[in-house]
Amino acid sequence: MKYGYYPGCSLERNAAAYNVSTMAIAEPLGIEFNEIDDWNCCGATEYTSIDLLAAYALIARNLALAEQLPDNGKLVAPCSACFLNLTKVAHQLEEEETLADKVNLALAEGKLHYTPGSIQVYHLLEVIFNDVGLDNLAKKVVKPLKGLRIAPYYGCMIVRPGYQRTFDNPEHPTSLDSIMNALGAFVVDFPMKANCCGGHMTQISQPVALEMLRRLLKNAADYRADIIVTLCPMCQLNLDAYQENVNAYFKTDYHIPTLYFTQLIGIAMGIPAEQLGIGKELVDARPALAKIGIEVPSEESVPEKKKHPKESLPMPTMSKED
């Protein structure tokens, strides 16, 4: 499986752990990444707030460069914000001729051109869930994450709003859940799995941002999660680096490590922790990871299934989904 690869700025430094772990698992999973040469920042959520066409041109430069790659138009971004920006612009340029023309006018200044419709943008999660597949993943597991209670955290932008495709339910996604199940972990039914981490709100209004993080941490704690697993540098940064600020601000005492899903896949595949950038997180993940292999008492592992009294009424199941 060959893909064009757009790491994005975060993966260069603060989310380097995400990058190394992705690279570490790619090869054994039969994924070949071809990094866009001299890619530039996607503009995050900031550029569009200032100048629309500049923002779109900024992103389109990456698409134009990706178009030159020999990867049949499949471009992968591990960062949800980058993924959203790329897929959104790719989609809207295809949808609106006038917009595409203007953007190409700008690109021409740099001797570049993007053919609308030539690039499909994928998030890393989508690639591992759909292209690698759970079965192949399970085959590679040598160290099942038995005993770990994991809160799968999708955040936004990857499942919403689904510009080129919707690959998972925007309200109740399950792909990451099933990946973690495949690794042998116990996945808690994390209600806030698709809520927002606050994004750049930390820079705009600390109280607002910290409250949004507190909700997530509280919810994860309520479900007694050992680890929050993420697939976005921004989510990881906020939950990990700002956890202390949350505790300070709200007089709480959360210590929930936040890891990238690629790191946990790596561990399950038996790749040494240091090769997965574990240890770079501010909230130390080692105590939690130490639980791997410890048998969890069964009633512990299924706290949601309380014995119903005999008067109780039947409970509908999600399965009947059409």
Binding site: C9, S10, E12, R13, N14, A15, A16, D38, N40, C41, A44, E46, Y47, T48, S49, I50, D51, L52, L53, A54, Y56, A57, L58, R61, L84, Q92, E95, E96, L99, K102, L105, A106, L107, E109, G110, G155, C156, M157, R160, P170, N195, C196, G198, G199, H200, M201, T202, Q203, I204, S205, Q206, P207, L237, A241, E244, N245, G279, K280, E281, L282
Partner: protein, 194 residues
């Protein structure tokens, strides 16, 4: 714009303007004021006006009231409103449009989120000069410039990040920075209407 709105013969209203500056068929005219957006918004509780209220003001042509509001700046682009809206209005994109308009017309300065644009521009300064961003160095530079107290609060975290090699002090610069500058320069001359 696939919106039938701007085909009408009458003089363009504030709403037409917002619609014409937003890519895609944003369907703003179809709002039924149900409040799904305001209810779904993770930062909705802190907004001066809920998105729904803002849309009604837009329809009413209350330009200043809208562009002074902190609402667009408190949008975290989580797209809950957009994917839940029963009228399929592209609310998040409309928020971006309102930010751009507020900046252009200087109203943001009166908004209680007046620092937000400063953050955005600090951010894009880097992007335009290096082709890459580095949110942490950025955060520090931004905080030093606009919010030294915040810097103090952040110090502990900053050290932690530095120690773990997760924080740059200078961003990497892309090779094609001049090419990028040329592209962005041109783009800025092409005007806001899409």
């Amino acid at each position: 714009m696939s919106s039938t709105h701007n085909t009408s013969p009458r003089a363009p209203t504030f709403m037409d303007e917002v619609i014409n500056h937003t890519p895609g068929d944003n369907r703003l005219a179809n709002c039924i004021q149900c409040g799904t957006c305001g209810g779904s918004c993770p930062s909705g509780a802190d907004m001066e006006h809920t998105p729904r209220a803002l849309f009604q003001m837009i329809k009413g042509g209350f330009r200043e009231m809208v562009l002074r509001s902190n609402t667009p700046w408190y949008c975290v682009s989580c797209y809950y409103c957009t994917s839940r809206c029963p009228q399929n209005i592209h609310i998040t994109d409309v928020m971006y449009t309102l930010k751009r308009m507020a900046l252009k017309e200087g109203y943001y300065r009166e908004s209680s989120a007046s620092e937000a644009p400063a953050f955005s521009s600090t951010f894009i300064d880097y992007v335009e000069n290096y082709g890459r961003s580095f949110e942490l160095g950025l955060a520090t530079r931004y905080l030093l410039r606009y919010n030294p107290m915040g810097m103090v609060q952040m110090a502990g975290m900053g050290m932690g990040m530095l120690r773990r090699g997760r924080m740059d002090l200078i961003p990497t610069r892309i090779k094609g920075i001049n090419q990028l500058k040329a592209i962005l320069g041109k783009a800025k001359t092409l005007g806001g209407e899409v």
